[in-house]
Structures are given as structure tokens and as C-alpha cells.
Symmetry: C2
Subunit: 334 residues, 2 copies
């Protein structure tokens, strides 16, 4: 059998893992044991949450062990199966890691990919954790109502771009915040945002006032930091903040300071709530179905940022935090 | 008719209004016009929210105009009525201000006081805004479940003391935070807290860990500031923060900084929400009935801190922020 190239976390970062924190090794492809499957990965995911998985500090999932394969979602095909639910050739997406081949227990599978009329890579983006997160976090915590204003940070990103479009499906006015004029333009042109602001531009908070004349009913937050500090004071009465990510904060040790939020939550009778996808896996299958329908109807566009080959893995996460991607970052293996 | 002594807001404070910001004047008692009533106030309320009402900055209620009577809840008896719903002798509680006599439209009445078997002053405390706030903010935003740990700041105060007891009624373990050993003792002895901590004592956050071994399911916050900064990291998964007051913050202009909350909200899938009583007035009457039942059953104790005479008004709010009261602060006029 061919060798299995694996990307190991080889040193423990204190902030965003850099290329030098990873090492690519070759290992033998291992045959599955009883209850396991062997998957040939075809596409690997790169996502902001990986930063948290590489850190030593307590997180909402266990840290990746040093010397082990970098935890990642991936999609591929079953090569060999010793589990009754899976057969060779099945397309599956799950926790297969940054490697060519994954010998995993069946429990590592998130789902079989059933949408064979759509690109397989969507299972890691708009029909994967990103899209499902966007849909459930927005609808379950954001509770968008027709006519409301939904403000989204990292609006051109894989979660944010879906949030904006799902909010439009709910009849909302959408305002995106993105880094740089290219991403802001992408928000308007590709993702249907009613307004999109470049937070790196001078005077952008004034534009935010113009774009949200009645305040912000839902702030879907993927960044924290200065963008959130501009959003909070603009919340409308009864506003909801969905805390989905904190991409602008390089390190939480020690916890950085910012303007206190208690008073604005009181004055606006607003609320903030954190969303972690792992709590909502029971809604995954149903939500992918909903999202696939929107993709087929042309109501849910997506962008992919595809890197080629496993050699691209080590720097892929750092590059994400440098903001160099336009759309969902993926690594294509075959 | 006798003169009406009135406490006017005579200068605009930038933080907590001090005695020098008020002036007591005498005026004629005015006869009610059509649709109005004349109330003889017997008890006046003093509460933390008054700080906000005196400030010039935007708030969840309009600022008190300079030169006008200080806005306050009060309870008294109808002396003269030109409104069909009220008759002389009726006990009423409402927005009657810091003055002996209030000539007000009937809309200033919050409710007739029907619990004539209980002290009239309770209408400004445990059977008033404070008790109703405690009940609705805890049950509607805090969603306490039996066996959960409920942490309360200003636990010996008029809202906090009721919160702890209502949480006990819901089967929760209650942990109070108060300023000084006397108030902490009061929490345990009078208000049934399972544990009570003095946040002024050295090492109190270590005691907080001991008192909340499974984390904090509901943090009922009346303070913000350093107490909240100790509470947030101790939230349990799925924790709820009820933001009910910000007593520890002297001024919000500029907004003070503190440790950012986004990460803990994410990691704990927790939420923070602000509660303002004015949004819940439709539940007032029903809730007073519930609370009165608890008082009669001996399940809801209260403490009053009664100042005598209208001369006590000007310094009463500043004294509240100096922490000199034990229990609901009131001013008795007759």
C-alpha cells in the first residue's frame, strides 16, 4: 500500500499555530480493525477553531496531543470497512485529520455525504460545520425576524457569508463587516449583503451608523475585539448577540480587556449567547438538508479557497489568521 | 392646606447624585384636575436605579429634569380623586416622587395596594419593583432548575435577598456575595443562602470556588465590576447571567474596561441578558400576588432600612452607594 502522509502537531503554540509548529511524516497505511473504517481523504478542512484545538489551555474541546495528527474535519471515500454501516466507495465526512488516509472508528464519521449532485467539498463548507453553524446559531440564538437588521462580522468568511444569506431568506436587512475592500465587495456582489463595510477603512464606524439607522437587532459575531466594541453600542432594544467565534483575539491568556458590556445589555434589554456546534449535532442532518435546498435554489452562494496538496497544511491555519483567504479554506489532496 | 415639601434635583451629577445635588422647597398642595388624583405619600423609595435617572446621558428612562421633583416610587393614600378608579383612602403605589403630596394623573399609579394584611411599605420592596424584578428576572431570564447553583451579587440587598429566597423555592443551591461580614451573615441567617461571601475579604474568590464546586448555573448580577469578573470564569456549561444592575460602576462615561466575556460565553455556551422591569409591567400584578403568598408562608423574608423624614432624602441615594444600608432603603414620612 502507498504511504500515508500525516501532519503532526509537533510543538505547542501559545497563539496561532505557525507552519513551524507542524511536521509532515510518512507512515504506513493501517488496516481497519473491527468497528473501524479506512478513509482516503480527498479534501481537508482549515478553520479558525483549529487555533483553540492546538492550545494547551482549557477549551470547549480537548487539546490536540503533541506528536499526533492535527485534528481536522475532512471528506473522502471509504476504502475498507469493518463496520456494517459503511461500504467501500461511500462518501463520508468526519474527524479524519490532516492526513492522506484515516483509520478511524465509525464514530469519527459525522455523516455520509448524500448530496452527490453537489461538489463533495461543500461537505466541509456550506453543507458542513460552517453552514450548519451559520444556520443554527443564527436561527436558534439570533432569532431573526423579517425586517430586522442583522450585522455580521467576518461577513465574507465561510460562516459569515452563509449567515448573511440565511438572514436574507428570513427577510432581514443584512450588513456585513469584512477586512478590506475586496472582501466587502464580495459581500455585496456574491453574498447579497445590503451593505458591507471594510473595518480597515478610516471612519468605518460612521458608515456603520448609516448602514444600521435603526440599530442592530442581531449581531452575529465571529471576531470579538474592536469590531464587536463598535457593534455593541449600536444594538437595538431587544438585540441579540450571537458569539460564534473570536477570530480577532490572538490569545486569551491573559484575558484581554475591552469596554464592559453590562450596561448596554441592560439599557437595550439585549442578550449575548455563545454557540458551539458540538451541542447541536442532533440537528446536523436536518440542517444540511435545508442548506442543500437553498444551494440548489440559488439562494445560498459560497466561495472556496482551495490549497493544493498536503504540503499546504502547516501554514494554512496561520494564513487563515493573516486573512489571506477569500471563502472557505480547503486543502485538496486528490 | 398644609405645605408640600418637595425634593428637587437642582444640579446635574456626573456620577452618583450627592446631597448637594438636591434642594428641598415648600410649595402649595395642588388640587387634582380631571383625571388626576392627589396622594399623600407615606413612604418613599430609594433605589440604585435613581443614579441613572439623574444623569444626563441616554438611559433606559428619560433623565429627571433639573429643577423638578426627584423621580421616585412612593406609596401613600389617595386624599382627593378626580378619576373614577380611585377614591379617598385607597392605598396606592406609583411614581409619586420625593415629596409629601403628589398631584398626578392616574397613569402614575403602578397599582392599588391590596395586601392590607401586610405592611404598606412592602409595596416599595419585596412586594414592589424590587421583589417583582427579583422574581421575573430570575425566573424568566435565569431559568433556575432544581439542584442548580445560583450566585447572587448584592445578595443582602432588596433585590438580591429576594432572588436568593426565590431560587431556594425553585430548589436551587444559593451562594450570595455581599460587602462585609455583617451583610454576609445576614445572607445566611435571614435570607437562607447556603453560602455567603464577603467580597471585601482577602481570598474571597477561593471561597467562591469552594462554594460553587460545580460552577455557577445562574449568576444574578446587580454589580458588574470586579465581582462579575470573578463570577464569569466560574460559569457552568449552559450558564445564564442575568444583568439586573451595575451598582459597582460609578460612571459609564467613558465605558470602563474589564476582561472580555466573549470567550467564556463561547466555551461555556453561556448567555448574558439584561433585565429592565419596565418591559415586564404586564406581569406585575400576578407576580405581587405570588410574592405575597411567599411572604405569608414565611418563605420570603425581607429587611428594611428606614430613614425618617423628607430631610433624609438628599443624602439617601449617595448613602446607598456608600453601602450603608442593610435591606431595602425607605424614607418614612408619616
Amino acid at each position: 500500500m502507498t504511504a500515508n502522509r500525516r501532519v503532526l502537531l509537533s510543538s505547542r503554540p501559545t497563539a496561532v499555530a505557525q507552519a513551524s509548529d507542524f511536521t509532515i511524516v510518512e507512515a504506513a497505511v493501517e488496516a481497519p480493525e473491527e468497528g473501524e473504517i479506512l478513509v482516503r481523504n480527498t479534501v481537508l478542512s482549515v478553520e479558525p477553531a483549529m487555533r483553540g484545538w492546538t492550545l494547551a489551555s482549557a477549551n470547549y474541546s480537548a487539546p490536540v496531543q503533541l506528536g499526533s495528527v492535527m485534528r481536522a474535519l475532512a471528506t473522502g471515500h471509504v476504502v475498507e470497512s469493518r463496520h456494517p454501516d459503511y461500504a467501500p466507495g461511500d462518501a463520508v465526512t468526519g474527524w479524519f485529520g490532516w492526513q492522506d488516509y484515516a483509520r478511524v472508528p465509525a464514530s469519527a464519521v459525522v455523516r455520509k455525504v448524500l448530496e452527490t449532485d453537489l461538489p463533495l467539498s461543500l461537505s466541509l463548507g456550506v453543507l458542513g460545520i460552517n453552514g450548519v453553524t451559520a444556520y443554527l446559531a443564527l436561527t436558534e440564538l439570533g432569532l431573526p425576524k423579517a425586517g430586522e437588521t442583522v450585522l455580521v462580522s467576518t461577513a465574507a468568511g465561510s460562516v459569515g457569508s452563509a449567515v448573511g444569506q440565511i438572514a436574507k431568506v428570513h427577510g432581514c436587512r443584512t450588513v456585513g463587516i469584512a477586512g478590506g475592500p475586496v472582501k466587502a465587495q464580495l459581500c455585496r456582489d456574491a453574498f447579497g449583503y445590503d451593505a458591507a463595510l471594510d473595518y480597515k477603512a478610516a471612519g468605518w464606524t460612521g458608515q456603520l451608523d448609516e448602514a444600521c439607522p435603526n440599530g442592530v437587532d442581531v449581531y452575529f459575531d465571529n471576531t470579538a475585539g474592536a469590531i464587536s466594541d463598535a457593534a455593541y453600542p449600536r444594538l437595538a432594544v431587544g438585540g441579540r448577540v450571537v458569539v460564534c467565534g473570536t477570530a480577532s483575539i490572538q490569545s486569551w491568556d491573559p484575558v484581554p480587556t475591552g469596554p464592559r458590556v453590562e450596561r448596554v445589555l441592560l439599557m437595550k434589554r439585549a442578550r449575548m449567547a455563545g454557540f458551539v456546534m458540538f451541542d447541536w449535532m442532533h440537528r446536523y442532518e436536518e440542517t444540511v438538508g435545508t442548506l442543500a435546498g437553498l444551494v440548489r435554489d440559488g439562494r445560498l452562494a459560497y466561495r472556496e479557497d482551495v490549497l493544493e496538496g498536503i504540503e499546504a497544511c502547516p501554514d494554512a491555519l496561520a494564513g487563515l489568521y493573516r486573512g489571506e483567504n477569500l471563502g472557505k479554506r480547503l486543502i485538496r489532496l486528490v
